[in-house]
């Protein structure tokens, strides 16, 4: 991954976090808001590989944990695992169709949520937020809608390594 791509992804994560905190709570769809950081992590895992996705998931999730009074590290852990899983599954299917990230985002939204609840349960958190099937489904659909915007955007700005530097590397 090029240096420009890394800087670009860092900006995307911070921007996703700010949008998640201030914009999406105002635009709920069927009473649910999306999880933009999860969408970005999964899409990065598909475009740049499981490790890149996991790192984006870790930093994005940690930002989310720090900015709200919840147990720090849980979102970072669940988003890391969801993104890593997305990257592994992408390697397994070997396709560039938008259908793959869309399906991964839809199903991994459920996975990430149940994992989050499971971790809180293991930690002995007394008051777990109640899971509402309609809200989970609406949130998964909202995430899918965002994937149609995020996936082409992240694929477009790939910042390929320049020919000269490639030939220099080969000579070396």
């Amino acid at each position: 991954m090029s240096r420009n791509r890394r800087i670009f992804l860092a900006i995307v994560v911070v921007l996703a976090f700010v949008l998640q905190l201030s914009v999406f709570p105002q635009f709920k769809l069927l009473g649910a808001q999306p999880d933009l950081i999860l969408v970005v992590s999964i899409v990065v895992a598909v475009t740049d590989g499981p490790v890149a996705g996991a790192i984006v998931g870790f930093f994005g999730g940690m930002l989310q944990d720090i900015a709200s009074p919840q147990v720090m590290g849980v979102s970072a852990l669940t988003k890391t695992l969801a993104a890593f899983m997305a990257g592994m599954l992408k390697d397994f299917f070997m396709t560039y169709s938008i259908l793959l990230p869309v399906l991964l985002v839809f199903f991994l939204t459920f996975f990430e949520l149940f994992l989050h609840q499971g971790v809180l349960l293991v930690l002995g958190q007394e008051q777990l937020p109640p899971l509402n099937a309609a809200t989970i489904f609406a949130s998964a659909l909202y995430n899918v809608l965002l994937t149609f915007i995020i996936y082409p955007l992240l694929r477009r700005f790939r910042f390929p390594v320049k020919e000269e530097s490639l030939s220099m590397a080969k000579r070396a």
Binding site: G31, I55, Q64, S68, M72, G73, L77
Partner: protein, 287 residues
């Protein structure tokens, strides 16, 4: 598997394991430390840092959102205007009656020295600069924190009624748990019958009222207000109206639903009720 891809797979595994170890370490430290521990301090510091950015974004987005909402509700707006004009006429008449009652009431209050106890509550205005970043909590981030005298467990209200209570405080920001959050429980009473109980949030737009007595006198349309029990909120802050009273199939208890007066999606400013040492009151009750 080709030999060249094997070291890459191992490297991927190592990176994943390192990230998981960091996450588990952070979770363990966070759960074990007190509210004044380093990770909690980082959380509060970060909240102070992020809240102005969130506030700026919210200010940009709110007019756009209001435009969308108005566009969607355009057909019902003219009907609403007619209804409001009718209500204004009714309220004007009601106001005249209320003035008489107010005079009588202030005389009675003076006699009961009620005003003296109310004088200890001061209000601090704050802007809403952010909301919960997920679907499972009902939280709001305020632009004021401990530097404005705000402390954990203080009540938050608007002119429409009770909004929630402060659950986390930074120096220039604080987090409010709304009364609609499923983990919220507020000491409340029926304004008409004075029956007391607990008002629980359900992560939706409706609250559930659990009266102390099974045969409590509760009717649809009754106003529910804070009871003052708990020490975080003064008594008499209105919360909502009873929207339904149903008997459960078991026949043992009733399901009383309350619709809050506050329109949480339209809030942009709130008032924090500065109460003396709200945390110590909560702790005393827990003991």
């Amino acid at each position: 598997m080709p030999a060249s891809s094997r070291p890459r797979t191992n490297r991927n595994r190592i990176i994943l394991i390192v990230i998981i170890i960091i996450c588990v370490a952070v979770v363990t430290l966070y759960v074990r430390e007190s509210d004044s521990g380093p990770l909690h301090k980082i959380q509060n510091f970060f909240l102070d840092l992020v809240s102005p950015i969130g506030g700026a974004f919210a200010k940009i987005v709110r007019p756009i959102k209001d435009g969308f909402v108005n566009l969607l509700h355009l057909p019902s707006l003219s009907k609403e205007r007619d209804d409001l004009q009718r209500q204004v006429a009714q309220l004007r008449q009601q106001g005249i009656k209320n003035n008489e009652l107010e005079n009588e009431n202030s005389e009675l209050k003076r006699l009961m020295r009620w005003e003296e106890t109310q004088a200890e509550f001061e209000l601090v205005g704050a802007d809403i600069v952010g909301q919960s970043p997920d679907n499972w909590q009902r939280l709001m981030i305020l632009s004021r924190g401990s530097s404005s005298g705000i402390k954990k467990y203080m009540g938050v209200e608007t002119d429409e009624g009770l909004v929630g209570r402060v659950i986390s405080v930074g120096s220039r920001s604080s987090v409010v748990q709304l009364i609609t959050d499923s983990r919220s429980g507020v000491g409340a009473r029926d304004q008409r019958s004075r029956e007391t109980g607990i008002l629980d949030g359900q992560n939706g737009s409706i609250l559930k009222f659990d009266p102390m007595k099974d045969d409590a006198d509760l009717k649809v349309g009754d106003i529910i207000e804070t009871s003052g029990l708990g020490g975080t909120c003064p008594p008499g802050v209105i919360i909502g109206k009873v929207s339904s009273v149903k008997t459960r199939s078991s026949g043992l208890a009733r399901l009383v639903e309350v619709k809050p007066f506050v329109k949480f999606s339209q809030l942009d400013k709130v008032l924090v009720i500065i109460t003396p040492e709200p945390e110590s009151v909560i702790l005393k009750e827990a003991q």
